[in-house]
Amino acid sequence: MRSHALLRLRSYVKPHAKALVLAIALAFVEIYFETRIPDITRKVIDGPIRHESQRGRLLPLIGLLTLFGVLEVILAYRRRKVLSNAALRVETDVRNDLYAHLQRLHIGFHDGWQSGQLLSRCMQDINSLRRFVGFCLPFLVILSFQFVYTFVLMFKLSPVLAFVAAVGILPVGWISYTMSRQYRVIARRIQDQQGDLGTIIEESATGIRIIKAFGRAPLMRKKFRLQAEKLRESSLGWVRLMARLWPMFDVFPNLVLGAVLIVGGRAVIRGDMSLGSLWAFILYVQMLIWPVDALGWILAMTEESRTSTERLMEVFDTQPQIADRPGAVELVNCEGRIAMNDVWFRYEGGTDWVLRGVNLEIAPGETLALVGKTGCGKSTLAMLIPRLYDVDKGTVTLDGRDVSSITVGSLRSHVGVAFEDPILFSASVRENLVMGRLDVSDHQITLALETAQASFVNELPYGLDTRVGEQGHTLSGGQRQRLALARAVLGGPRVLVLDDPLSSVDVHTEALIETALETVLEGTTAILVVHRPSTLALADRVALLDEGRIVAVGTHHELMESEPLYRAVLSQEAEEYST
């Protein structure tokens, strides 16, 4: 089943079936008018030209020819408009669905996919679908009709010549088949190699500081050159294929033309056929070349579209793993009691457990700090609460309810998160703060900015409307982090998850933020991932995490006294460096 993947586009094409049928019908009428041309010229030759007495028929015949030309053009315009419209709508529908689906897919999925891979699916692959719907699909029908219809007309003029033409055109079918197959292999290889080259380009651009710092430009150039040469080799394969097969497309129709001239010419000399018929026949043969030529391309494009569809289906067939379970309940009021019972977790595709049986309870309004060595699983643990990842074993509960039995939307509406890396988008500051919570007021935004000591926003050229992010106003690391913090506390969520939220701010600002946060944290359940002792003042209790387990829970002072590991992790006063 060569085109079976394409069948899965049915639901997208169905709403436009009428348009496609209309376009095909218009094309049929167009073809009818087009094929009148050889017929009318035949009548001109065999009539007025051969018999001067019929000169009066010349003007009506030519008038008809012109009229057909006008009709044909109007139909062609309509047909193209209808087709473009349908194809572009299908394209847009698929693209919107892809985006919506990707947004629903769990973070674990996104971790494993490179952005370039997702982008090429959204652009190249979907563009290829547009070509399939707007061109390949209707034209397979239209061209087949044109081919058969023209053939019938030729058969009427001269069965023998039509037979000659049929035999002569057959190899073209075979060539187009060969070509489309080889084309597919090469196109795929070129695509892959372009992707690999793209990776090198991206690294060379984003890592330019490191490359310069170590003077490794020659190394990168070499890497780039080798990959570019591979790509060139493949492109040459493509050129070779074209150079070999393209001329072949023309050879056979031209041989047919030669045969028609000889056989038809002989018939005319013998008086078995009129000169007008021979002329018409030659024009018909010329009309046959385009559909045959195009058929090869269309097959190749169809192959490409099939691959593209398969690539898209890879994504569409992945089910979101974090979604509302059947019977999930809406969490309206949240008290903020969090518990973890024997929680085990590992990343998708990873073999090692990151969390190995975590047990933890946080009372409503309590602030718990997570402390541990680099890579001990602190951040991962924190991300389980808003269900950005799901546990593999054990349960995470909020107010005594398993988080997986709460609707994802309502769960997340009660949890504010600040990530280790402040993620900002190329959009206004307001949009970056509000995110999905369209009901927050300007007053709430002002409060959140105050808490995060992010009043610098007021000094930006357009205040809250200033665009930030990659394509906007450049912010310092500390400023970005403060915006991320403001985003987390905005709207006063019942639960806060703050992953090392102050690592990039200077000591002075840190102190100010802590003072402001203290008020916020009073009535909020919070988990703080902490690297610096200074932030610990905010916490009621501290949990020490080691090798995926909670090894101790207590106040800072208790742990300082009882846990050597804790002291090691947090104490600056290692004897040898004390001043």
């Binding site: 001109v44 710092a213 190394l219 200033t466």
Partner: protein
């Protein structure tokens, strides 16, 4: 003002002063600008031989193609109308032979020109890549990595598409159109004049199309750029999107953007749907006129029927290629805009040029001196008249508030930028006189941003010294305290840093960056906030290692946590682009100045 749900308006994007217009292909003109033409000249220069061959092949191909309709006319006149079967067969065989010659030259032409195209493209790729690698960091800071990637991928692809969709075919076709006009006039001036009556209309239609197509094309490019940026960014930060339930909002915005893209595309399609059939109609009209007038000529015996037939065939060949022009035009516009942008990049002068007569010292000791150095980013002065001498082997801490100029000083030492005034020298040699490779061998930088390349952990460390053995890599990692965690990774040193399971924390990435710098074994080491992501035990480990690592080399340390500064021999306090305090840590503390204040603050922040 709260956020509206109207996705058609752009308020969500926010406002920014300098929209980067360049990427949207504005001002793309069908006529190549001077620097693009110059670039084309440079690219084609090595291919003179191929150019001659393709021109010859094209000439043969064109001639054979142009002569065909005429010969078919002759076959009809002399063979069929002349009722001579022998002549008919002989002439037809000649026609077929010419067809075959035409096909063979076409194949050869495709091969030679296609190969030339691939060669030109790889040359261009290498040129642009090399250029970007040689441009200064000041350039890269402004230009941003996204645009570098766009130049090297989508712009080059636009040129590639031009080659693949048949630039050569269009060139041949256009020449053919000219050839046909000439032939028609030679065959029968009257009929040629009549058949070309519609030609002014063709020109007018083409002009109209070109005019509108530039606008619609730009609208498509702008619309697609917005779709791509939004798609990439919102999915790149999908965890934030999901955590703050932005899915619906994102969906609205995205659908607004794709709808705009669809409409721009539709306008462009409709334009082409008017142009293509329009040209076809003019072709039909011209055919009607030719048949009407020609038939009268034939009836009056002023012309043979074969000539009339060849006229009809010529007209088909005349209007066919013109119809295809609309499809080609967008590709051409994209390519010429791309070429212009690439030419712009290649014209960029580097602000950190390679020395013309480099001085290559034998041994570098690592003595650094600033002599009256001033530096500014654009108009904004950052470093003012700074002179300082650092003997080899000294460990210097640069201390000061954010924006004081510490990092700029470090970047000047690494010659990421050149000073606007004064000189910076290494062992008494102006940095500008040192060859790049020597400078990089002598000075290495570890920054806060610990970028890792695709590949394994081991490969990333050996980036500091590409010919290092596995033992050396492991030794470097061990010295810096990274060996333990690396050994615990799934595949140890062979763990792929970007694949699943190879997740590294910020601290771990920074340790790898450290090991990389240590392996490079430079005489001068610059640590720019290099320990900020490390947790305390790791940082202590690194500092312990640094004591030994830095003992015999010059080092500059920038950190806003003073714990890192403790190991310095000397502290320079930077403020407002000047060095305001200079001395050993203990001296400065006892002297009671800015450093003393900072130190007190820091001690208080510890628990």
């Amino acid at each position: 003002m709260t956020i509206t749900n109207d996705s058609a308006n752009d308020s969500w994007r926010g406002v920014v002063d300098d929209e980067k217009k360049e990427d949207s292909g504005h001002g793309a003109s069908a006529i190549l600008r001077k620097r693009s033409r110059r670039l084309l000249g440079v690219l084609l220069r090595p291919h003179k031989k191929e150019l001659v061959i393709t021109t010859l092949l094209m000439a043969v191909n064109l001639t054979t193609w142009l002569v065909q309709p005429h010969l078919i006319g002759v076959v009809i006149d002399r063979g069929v109308e002349g009722s001579d079967f022998g002549v008919l067969v002989r002439l037809t065989l000649i026609v077929v032979a010419i067809f075959i010659a035409n096909n063979l030259t076409w194949g050869a032409f495709l091969w030679v020109s296609g190969k030339m195209g691939a060669d030109v493209l790889i040359d261009l790729r290498k040129m642009v890549f090399r250029k970007f690698q040689s441009l200064s960091l000041a350039f890269h800071d402004k230009y941003t990595s996204g645009r570098v990637v766009a130049r090297l991928t989508s712009d080059i692809d636009a040129l590639n598409e031009l080659l693949q969709t048949g630039l050569h075919e269009v060139v041949v076709n256009m020449l053919a159109v000219l050839g046909i006009v000439v032939i028609l006039f030679f065959k029968d001036a009257r009929l040629a004049g009549v058949s070309l009556l519609v030609f002014p209309l063709v020109l007018a239609l083409t002009y109209w199309f070109r005019h509108h197509s530039e606008r619609t094309y730009r609208a498509v490019r702008d619309a697609v750029a917005l779709v791509i940026v939004f798609y990439n960014e919102s999915l790149g930060g999908v965890r934030a999107g999901q955590a703050f339930r932005r899915e619906a909002r994102n969906k609205d915005i995205f659908e607004g953007l794709t709808d705009r893209y669809r409409e721009a595309n539709l306008r462009s399609s409709i334009l082409a749907a008017r142009f293509g059939p329009g040209i076809r109609f003019l072709g039909r009209l011209s055919m009607s006129v030719v048949l009407l007038y020609g038939a009268n000529l034939v009836i009056d015996d002023k012309m043979t029927i074969g000539v009339l037939f060849s006229f009809v065939l010529y007209l088909n060949r005349f209007f066919g290629p013109l119809q295809d022009l609309s499809q080609f035009y967008n590709v051409f516009q994209a390519a010429s805009a791309a070429l212009e942008k690439l030419a712009g990049v290649l014209d960029e002068a580097t602000s950190v040029p390679e020395a013309e007569n480099p001085v290559v010292p034998q041994n570098i000791l690592g003595e650094i001196a600033f002599d009256g150095v001033g530096f500014s980013y654009g108009e904004k002065p950052v470093i003012l008249e700074t002179s300082v001498h650092v003997p080899s082997g000294q460990t210097v801490a640069l201390v000061g508030e954010t924006g004081a100029g510490k990092s700029t000083l470090a970047k000047l030492i690494a010659r990421f930028y050149d000073p606007v005034q004064g000189t910076i020298s290494l062992d008494g040699i102006d940095l500008r006189h040192l060859p790049e490779w020597k400078l990089r061998e002598a000075i290495a930088v570890v920054t806060q941003e610990s970028f890792l390349f695709g590949g394994t952990v081991g490969e990333n460390i050996s980036f500091g010294k590409p010919d290092a053995t596995r033992e050396q890599v492991e030794a470097a990692a061990t010295a810096i305290g990274a060996h333990e965690f690396i050994s615990n990774l799934t595949d140890g040193y062979d763990t792929d840093v970007k694949k699943r399971g190879g997740r590294l924390s910020a601290g771990q990435r920074q340790l790898i960056a450290f090991a990389r710098a240590f392996l490079a074994d430079p005489r001068v080491l610059i640590l720019d906030e290099a320990t900020s992501s490390l947790d305390i035990p790791t940082e202590r480990l690194v500092q312990h290692a640094l004591r030994t690592l830095l003992s015999d080399r010059t080092a500059f340390i920038i950190a806003h946590r003073l714990s890192t500064v403790e190991i310095a021999d000397r502290v320079l306090v930077v403020d407002g682009g000047r060095i305001v305090e200079d001395g050993s840590p203990n001296e400065l503390i006892s002297r009671g100045g800015r450093y003393a204040d900072l130190h007190t603050q820091w001690i208080e922040s510890l628990i």
